[in-house]
Subunit: 175 residues, 2 copies
């Protein structure tokens, strides 16, 4: 069944947020952008979303100010998509959703999130239990968890095996 | 474009969670259930979702253990949908999403969430700044905010104008 994407009768900030990020694939694009993915082909290979869908999501996320399109090469022209402060502010939502998925569907931990400064694993609210502070997204170190078994054919998954800070551009080995 | 609901290649707890709650309307059904809505007709009038979609979402949420179907009347048989602990555990996700919607899309506050014990407005992580604790969902008092202007024809919206604790069944005035 085809459904529109707005919730016209819903006077609610949750519904408003879902009008923007509630479409299929959108939050996974934001997730990848927070992990440091910036280029169309890298989103494509990592997500496996249909090209037209990915292009539409990147367009929406850019027009809503969640990603920013930046030219990184002039000839031929090539753009990348960099997550903005508005996009970074979606991290608590994504973290909460991932925690719920893991706790309630019995998965092993696929990715660990630590405080880069002290190495302590973050608590359920993104706080560092050792330092007693909410850790800014830039200072979150992402480390592969014991349950992670990535697709060896996907260079983005392989690159995400190395510990890295969130937001830091992902360094992808040439194929 | 019709898109399936699974993310087969995504080895990720966020993607797993979105396979369950990422479809259109699903998180708004959970929101209403947390607000105390329990009956099919009340979800229907408050959400304005197509009947077939609402029925499908209630079915999925029940089979995934997020809502529990309970018979409240035998003749004629009538069921209600009560949010489970697994559904209650989605509150941090919904709260974070609503906060993002409000902060980034310039809306007035539509609903305030307070610590029922002391009346203090909760902080961004659902903590009570006065008591210094994360407030359990049962102890969150929901109060209409200054920006709320509900549809007078919708008895659920009207009932939600009264301050109430989350999870407490909504008391709806007869039409």
């Amino acid at each position: 069944m085809a459904l529109g994407k707005d919730y016209a009768t819903q006077e609610c900030s949750i519904a408003r947020a879902l009008e923007i990020v509630g479409e299929r694939w959108t939050l996974l694009v934001v997730r990848d952008a927070l992990y440091g993915v910036r280029r169309y082909n890298d989103f494509l290979v990592h997500l496996g979303a249909p090209r037209a869908v990915l292009a539409a999501r990147l367009q929406t996320l850019t027009s809503e100010g969640i990603l920013e399109k930046r030219r990184y090469q002039e000839s031929p022209p090539r753009d990348e998509y960099v997550v903005t402060e508005r996009g970074i502010a979606l991290w608590p939502t994504l973290r909460a959703l991932g925690l719920w998925g893991r706790e309630h569907f019995g998965e092993e931990q696929l990715r660990c999130f630590r405080h880069a400064d002290c190495g302590t694993e973050l608590g359920p609210y993104g706080e560092c239990p050792a330092c007693g502070t909410i850790v800014p997204v830039r200072d979150v170190l992402m480390v592969p968890g014991p349950g992670l078994d990535p697709d060896p054919a996907d260079p983005v998954s392989r690159a995400l095996l190395r510990p890295k800070r969130l937001l830091q551009p992902l360094e992808i080995d040439p194929a």
